[in-house]
């Protein structure tokens, strides 16, 4: 069994990759807002780091820190920032000013190691709902259904996005932020692909393949622009809104056209309307209620039931396709 040929190892490359990944994971985001520009905040952080994050005090901090905090990358400096953030918020409120943002985000009460506990929990529940309905889909729909594999792939893309969303809301770093944003875009693009396969690709597979390639190109250029040119939040928002519109209109047109032939058409219509309507919640921007619940968390929480409706539609549709295929009817 043992081979005499020595394995070719390049020691240098894997450790360099590891170093880059470690760097990406640990570097927190560099956005800047009113709160962290505040001199009170900056002085507080400087003071805190000087006293608590050096020498013997640092060692004391590291030994007292619970394991899960250390594992999720909470450094002494991050702790200082967190404490000073609340000092600054207290001052702002005492003076009667509105609550400021820090590093592009509202102040949230930390729970264990979770930076934004409500959003993290909501993302986790979304992921679980998606997983549960995927399992339901797989147990109800036979493999021979034309949309089976595409729907499976869509679920996996969805699950991946919810995973990164949970991680991002747990710990906001350079890497996790990128992964969350890119995976979310991937879901919308795959949803367009799913719609294309359903509406055109069943009769003309060539068309859906071409659209698939086009979407991959769009995704690659979008990611490349954001990574290598500039991470522009405004552009990202506009891009996602645009492809979201395409997704919405395509699904809506198709299900309106088929409203007489498919008894479950309303599920599809309701799902897309709800998803995009609820996304408008993102535009509301208010400081988190009880320092836990902000508009983003409310949005994620509200989309949990939508998974059940969407997969119910997919199951009905896949079974319908299978039946009509058997009966030899041309599918619309």
């Amino acid at each position: 069994m043992s081979s005499a040929v020595p394995r070719c190892t390049s020691v240098g490359r894997p450790s360099a990759v590891a170093a880059v990944v470690l760097l990406l994971v640990s570097v927190t985001s560099v956005r800047s807002s009113q709160g962290d520009k505040e001199p009170v905040y900056r002085d507080c952080v400087k003071q805190c780091v000087r006293t608590n994050c050096t020498g013997a005090r640092l060692r004391g901090f590291e030994s007292a820190q619970p394991q899960y905090m250390a594992l999720t990358g909470w450094t002494c400096r991050d702790d200082c920032r967190y404490q000073c953030m609340w000092t600054t918020v207290g001052l702002y409120q005492a003076e009667g000013y509105r609550v400021p943002q820090f590093h592009g985000k509202w102040p949230f009460t930390r729970f264990l190691c979770f930076e934004e506990p409500a959003s993290a929990l909501a993302s986790l529940l979304n992921g679980l709902a998606c997983l549960l309905m995927l399992l339901r889909y797989r147990s109800t729909v036979p493999r021979q259904s034309p949309m089976y594999h595409t729907t499976n792939a869509f679920s996996l893309v969805s699950l991946n996005a919810w995973f990164w969303s949970t991680v991002f809301h747990t710990r906001d770093t350079y890497l996790t932020e990128k992964m969350d944003y890119f995976c979310a875009t991937a879901v919308i693009l795959y949803s367009i692909y799913l719609c294309c396969v359903r509406t055109l690709g069943l009769r003309r597979p060539g068309v859906s393949s071409m659209v698939g390639v086009l979407l991959i190109l769009v995704f690659t250029s979008h990611v490349s622009y954001l990574t290598f040119v500039s991470f522009d939040y405004g552009y990202n928002m506009a891009a996602n809104a645009t492809i979201g519109m395409v997704n919405l209109l395509w699904w809506l047109c198709w299900c309106w056209q088929n409203r007489r032939t498919l008894p479950y058409w309303w599920k599809c219509g309701l799902v897309v309307m709800l998803l995009h309507g609820l996304a408008l919640l993102e535009l509301l921007d208010f400081p988190p209620m009880l320092w836990i619940l902000d508009a983003h968390a409310v949005w994620h929480l509200s989309t949990i039931p939508v998974h059940f409706l969407f997969y119910s539609f997919l199951i009905d549709d896949s079974l319908y396709l299978l039946n009509t295929e058997k009966m030899g009817v041309k599918v619309e």
Binding site: M1, L124, L125, L128, L131, L132, R136, S139, T140, N323
Partner: protein, 396 residues
């Protein structure tokens, strides 16, 4: 070298597949003339499959999360509304040698150990005994924790009972149980049955996960046996399509659970009369559903009736054997319940959760000696609530 290993690998995989063929053989799990082929999905009909059981894992995780949220947002305000309050506990004074003995050797030292510890620490024997009693009380879960757990279980069992009713109310086998074997084993799976099964399995799985952190009661081991037997029974009935029987059995069990949990909630809140009333109703429902309906109606239909349709097969014995295990546990619990009901018939006013560890009080120390002597004289269990009671029950 590699060829030999490859051949060995082949032999092992052959053996494994032959073994799994043996374990999952048609003649073991199905009556004559039927087999796994009957359960393949075809046409529009969906049948239960082993992969479906994976769905219970995300549901269990969901339940664990929901429970935490529920306990913090609903149970705690409810507890203060109902007036759940904890007696102030005296903390055992810090004493390192006694503490190390408590943590490493035993929480209930024998008389000779107490004497040696007393010599070691310089405290009197009574002081050492008191220290151990106070230290043991410190570790007992407080009423609020017990209330929170009971209120979560109450909510689930209540929901599960009504869900079960909703699933079964429009089915013919709810009214004529023999119909559960109609067209067996090719009964198609209904979505309501799928969700009912998955929710129940997910809940019991979540209970198994959280049993480590839940309140430990005296019948802790029996609880674990019950959970494992329930999960195995439900999963097994899923795989071989005994789903109709399964839904009936689950409904019968859920009928009394929510009553017990609500009685516990009122017990912790101190509402004695309400607790006693609900507990009496619970005892009646428990006995009717689990000691009358379960053996004489359901087990009759799963044991006696099928033999008139098919010759016996291994799966038949296995399924009914598991039901017998559950029945024995029910008899054990019915005995405990009857003892409690008798205790609070007029005359005796004391009610505790029979399975819980009761806090030991000062006065018991004096009574201890007297009652022990009386017991050995009379030779039968008294109505006392001494620690001796606890020791006796631990033998189960």
């Amino acid at each position: 070298m590699s060829d030999v290993a490859a051949v060995r690998n082949d032999i092992v995989t052959d053996e494994m597949s032959r073994l799994s063929e043996l374990i999952w053989a048609d003649w073991i799990w199905f009556p004559e003339g039927h087999g796994w082929a009957d359960l393949k999905d075809h046409d529009d009909k969906v049948f239960p499959k082993m992969q479906d059981l994976w769905a219970t894992v995300p549901i269990a995780v969901c339940f664990l999360i929901l429970r935490q949220i529920f306990e913090k947002t609903v149970a705690v305000p409810l507890a203060s509304l109902l007036g759940v309050s904890d007696k102030q506990r005296v903390c055992a004074p810090s004493n390192p040698p006694l503490e190390s003995y408590f943590c490493s050797t035993s929480k209930h030292p024998t008389q000779s150990s107490i004497e040696s510890l007393s010599k070691q620490t310089g405290c009197s024997v009574r002081q050492v005994q008191r220290w151990f009693r106070q230290r043991r009380n410190q570790d007992r879960p407080c009423k609020l924790t017990k209330f929170r757990e009971a209120s979560w279980r109450f909510t689930f069992y209540l929901g599960a009972f009504f869900a079960g009713l909703a699933v079964l109310i429009d089915k013919p086998w709810f009214y004529d149980m023999k119909q559960m074997w109609e067209d067996f084993p090719k009964m198609p799976l209904l979505p309501s049955q799928y969700w009912y099964y998955m929710m129940e399995l997910g809940f019991y799985l979540s209970l198994l996960f959280s049993v480590a952190s839940d309140v430990k009661r005296k019948d802790f081991k029996e609880q674990i046996v019950h959970h494992v037997a329930t999960i195995v029974l439900i999963s097994f009935s899923w795989l071989v399509n005994y789903i109709r029987a399964g839904t009936l059995i689950m409904l019968v069990h859920d009928a009394s659970d929510y009553l017990m949990e609500s009685a516990k909630m009122f017990n912790y809140a101190g509402w004695r009369k309400t607790c006693n009333l609900i507990f009496t109703v619970f005892a009646a429902v428990f006995i009717i559903t689990r000691l009358v309906i379960l053996p004489f109606w359901i087990m009759y239909t799963t044991w006696v009736y099928p033999l008139t349709l098919y010759p016996a097969f291994f799966g038949f014995y296995f399924f009914n054997g598991l039901l017998v295990v559950l029945l024995i546990l029910h008899i054990f619990w019915a005995a405990l319940i009857m003892r409690m009901v008798i205790k609070f018939l007029p005359g005796n006013d004391i009610v505790e959760d029979e399975r819980s560890d009761k806090e030991e009080t000062e006065s018991e120390e004096e009574d201890n000696g007297r009652e022990w002597r009386e017991k050995s004289k009379n030779g039968h269990m008294q109505n006392g609530h001494t620690p001796l009671n606890n020791n006796h029950r631990k033998r189960y």
